[in-house]
């Protein structure tokens, strides 16, 4: 007789599901934080003109807003149920 993992280790399954979910959230949060950090970093631009820096920062912020949407859509696509 063969048991499924769910029957054999029900606690472990729940734990692993939670870990996976937590790790997904962490990864997304880190990606967004990185993108925002890139957007707000004054040092790489070194531009003495404040308005120029503002324009570059705004471009960075727009990218930081779009990136999680791309990652989310990719993840949703990968997880979509498809006929076998």
């Amino acid at each position: 007789m063969r048991f499924t993992i769910e029957e054999t280790y029900p606690g472990e399954l729940v734990e692993r599901e939670e870990e996976t979910r937590k790790s997904l959230d962490d990864v997304l949060a880190r990606a967004v934080a990185k993108a925002h950090a890139g957007a707000g970093q004054p040092s790489p631009t070194r531009d003495p003109m404040r308005p120029s820096r503002d324009l570059v920062d705004r471009m960075g912020a727009l990218f930081a807003a779009r990136l999680p949407r791309i990652l989310d859509d990719v993840a949703t696509f990968l997880q979509a149920e498809r006929p076998r």
Partner: protein, 294 residues
């Protein structure tokens, strides 16, 4: 996640491409990307392009205007080294002279130029996402073969594959953010420099004398291109810099002094040199000595 076939991989690539095209269209305009009405409609319907967002920003035009009006803003008493962009924009709105047809065409060209350069990052994102998916997908196939009748184990394998992939994409996204910052800085500088050059040309003609001032921590390439052996800015005719075109696509050894960015991350600034004036050791423009003819 199921193992993906060629059709799904193609769809995945299209998904990233649609996002990127929509994003660039919001930034630079659909015209700059050469999108037709059908493509625009498809991107809007898919949620990749927000027409309201497209109307809200025009970074290339903003950068061009900042360069174009830089001297006039300074003359109006605004400190363009310290004022936030919002204050600069408000001041520009009060400036009487609108852009000529030629200058508007220059803005259009700069948008198209920036759009073209940003496409490459989208292509890289597509390639890297597909490169991340392919080995995970192959590994998943192997794992599923091993637990073919156990649906829970299959579900776990699929979830873990997605988690690995998201982790990998999270790592890649840091590189993409840095690439984007480099592109944004370079393209904003280029648009701004063309704005400055066009403003000088409209007032003083194509042969106006021109220097480019590197930042104190500029790279040796910029210092060599724009400073003489004594560390003073070289003086060019603007027309000659324009004739040199752009260094994009050239090998480093072939780089020439140009109007726009000398290289990625370059932030050298163009300034007009009045006839007869010269640079001193402190990188200040000095008038001709009394009695000298310009």
């Amino acid at each position: 996640m199921m193992p993906l076939g060629p059709k799904e991989l193609k769809e995945l690539r299209a998904l990233v491409a649609n996002h990127w095209t929509g994003f660039l269209a919001e930034l630079f305009g659909a015209g700059a990307l050469g999108l037709d009405d059908d493509e625009i409609g498809r991107l809007v319907a898919g949620g990749y392009l927000d027409p309201a967002a497209a109307l809200a920003v025009d970074p290339v035009q903003d950068a061009y205007l900042l360069g174009f009006y830089r001297d006039r803003l300074t003359q109006a008493g605004l400190d363009v080294t310290a004022a936030p962009w919002s204050a600069v924009k408000a001041e520009i709105a009060t400036m009487p002279a609108p852009l000529t047809r030629g200058e508007l065409a220059a803005v259009d060209h700069a948008r198209q130029w920036a759009g073209d350069h940003c496409k490459a990052l989208g292509n890289r994102m597509e390639d890297q996402i597909l490169s991340a998916v392919n080995p995970e997908d192959a590994a998943l196939r192997e794992r599923l073969l091993g637990v073919i009748k156990d649906e829970t184990a299959q579900a776990l394998a699929r979830r873990e594959t997605v988690a690995h992939l998201r982790s990998r994409l999270g790592e890649l996204s840091g590189d993409w953010s840095r690439d984007w910052l480099r592109i944004a800085t370079t393209e904003m500088t280029t648009a701004q420099e063309y704005g400055t050059a066009d403003a000088y040309e409209s007032q003083h003609g194509p042969d106006v004398l021109y220097s480019k001032i590197p930042n104190p921590d500029a790279c040796p390439k910029c210092r060599s291109a724009y400073l003489d052996d004594d560390g003073r800015p070289k003086v060019f005719r603007l027309a000659d810099l324009r004739a040199n075109g752009t260094n994009v696509g050239r090998k480093q050894a072939e780089w020439l002094p140009v109007v726009g960015s000398h290289h990625p991350w370059c932030m050298c600034r163009g300034v007009r040199v009045p006839n007869g004036w010269s640079w001193n050791d402190r990188m200040e423009l000095r008038p001709p000595p009394r009695g000298a003819t310009a």
